[in-house]
Symmetry: C2
Subunit: 375 residues, 2 copies
Amino acid sequence: MKEIEELWREVRELSLGNNGSIERLESPPSSLDFLRNFINPNKPCIISNAINHWPALSSWSHHSYLSHSLSSSSVSLHLSPTGLADSLTTAPPSSPSPLCFASAHVQRHVPFPQALHLITSSHSSAFVAYAQQQNDCFRTEYSALANDCDSHVPWATRAIGAMPEAVNLWIGNQQSQTSFHKDHYENLYAVVTGEKHFLLLPPTDVHRMYIREYPAATYSYSSDTGEFDLELDEPIRYVPWCSVDPYPSPQNKDEEVSKFPLYFNGPKPFHCTVKAGEILYLPSMWFHHVRQSPDDGGLTIAVNYCKDQAFFLAVNIKCKSQTLMRVVFYAGYDMQFDIKYAYFNFLQSLHYRSTLSPMVQEKVSEETSDSDALA
Amino acid sequence: MKEIEELWREVRELSLGNNGSIERLESPPSSLDFLRNFINPNKPCIISNAINHWPALSSWSHHSYLSHSLSSSSVSLHLSPTGLADSLTTAPPSSPSPLCFASAHVQRHVPFPQALHLITSSHSSAFVAYAQQQNDCFRTEYSALANDCDSHVPWATRAIGAMPEAVNLWIGNQQSQTSFHKDHYENLYAVVTGEKHFLLLPPTDVHRMYIREYPAATYSYSSDTGEFDLELDEPIRYVPWCSVDPYPSPQNKDEEVSKFPLYFNGPKPFHCTVKAGEILYLPSMWFHHVRQSPDDGGLTIAVNYCKDQAFFLAVNIKCKSQTLMRVVFYAGYDMQFDIKYAYFNFLQSLHYRSTLSPMVQEKVSEETSDSDALA
């Protein structure tokens, strides 16, 4: 559908730029500038020198400091076979579809020193451990570290007009990845140690992500056998998720490209690396895929400020607007469910009719029929 | 096309409200609140008690004050047969189409006292006179009144991040009307005497306006014969304009409704009356139709702060985005050509396929084919 492809181009020409790079600010913007130049136009940016005053920047690279500060804390740890948790994988035999959306095994109440050991030793164990509980964990499980960071990002809080509803801590290693998805809230992502590598696509590219509904499944890990079991959630529920893996293995590359031509043959995604001491503003509704590089101690640690319960919202997003309004009403760093959001829902509700070869077109309309089912 | 009708509904449910009324603020908002709650979501509002300190509010209702202050000023006056200038009318015989877009006869260098007399005596003369030159006239032709108003609206200037590029004065009577159209800039409309009555539709309703290209024509008035002549502009040029007259005469009503069912049968337009001392924030890209009621002296006077050359932009809007970017770069109170604008262009580029009766559907797709030609 040439109009949709023109939309992909125009949003880049008018607002985002065509070179696939994210704008960088050398210092924190004023609240007005941040609201006017980034939140309003739904445009990401990376801000340097905004958290230089955080004690965390120096102290968190020392495992001894973390272990000592959190010696009496218990945390939740996400375990997965490969580090690809909350992502698509081959479904168990009982599944109605070949792929499912697999959530990690969540090991609760792990003494922090042990959790830290499990994360750093993942490469030599049967699982990859990732502390990525997105339930305001920094202000609960990790409250002993509260004085190492600001409780919010002042210029962003003033711009958005509300305090963050959730502040989360992420402690992972180079094996942890987050698959393509979007969130319905404004997100500020501060990297403290290591680096995060983001692939970003604007909401206007929704048809390029081939969002479909996948049955939800959850890993369970047995410390006795040292093995994972993957089972569909009961009662069965479906999660709308992006089908695209941007880094397919060489042997799968051709098949992936032919299954998802709009992603692989369209405008290249925006790519950025967020270094320790930098903040990424990730606007609401942007599709993002995240990988990470550890610091010398083998860790990547980040704090993000946002609204929690992404999945709750992701499900609610399919309900009537009135429901959304209620959610928004109590939200912290939540997006405005305004004309941009209405435009997005309209766009997502449209079938994509490709101008590509008939063979590909067939695949595409197949994909987007599914995608439409979500709209 | 049910998706487009759902968009009309959703933008009202999520952001604008369903009762067709415009939000009112009892005092000027902070720059952050104005940017976050109105400019970002592209949502109009009426602000009271924002210009109480303007000397104009008391002095401009006295014709003697205006005549004395501008005794040595010459101004531009727009003359039309009925007060419907810059609107569609029956085209001259030479026209390729039955209707044309008729601009008023512009009488330049009229001594202000005479201009004021012509405006107030329009009801008893062969023409309707309207001082509505949109070329920053308040800071040029009417500079003698500069101290009666603020040179800009401070909280809006801070929110938008730039001074207005044009400040215009409008002096008219009850016969002057402005037909449905949209502007590509943020507009603040301060009424000083009398009242302005606005009909407003959001950009998402673009298909309901039946925008088509009409040949441009201009009235010329002969003071000898006291008659108007309407001639097509040479070389012939086309102006994209809204086809809908929201107030058809009783005898035309049925035909208008059947020609423009999406307007007359869709969600009702937002309606508001802006009284002396109030400011209307008219967001970029909103379709608006304006009528007015005079004060006891027979005048409606307003000052608006915006970017000038609406028609220049209206034409340019059809050019490649790069052109727009250049325009924007130098603009004052101009809109952000951002994701909202890209979404709008996308929406406008789509054919509207009605879910109405086949007969109506035929008409509609006919209309929108034209409309698409503009996109």
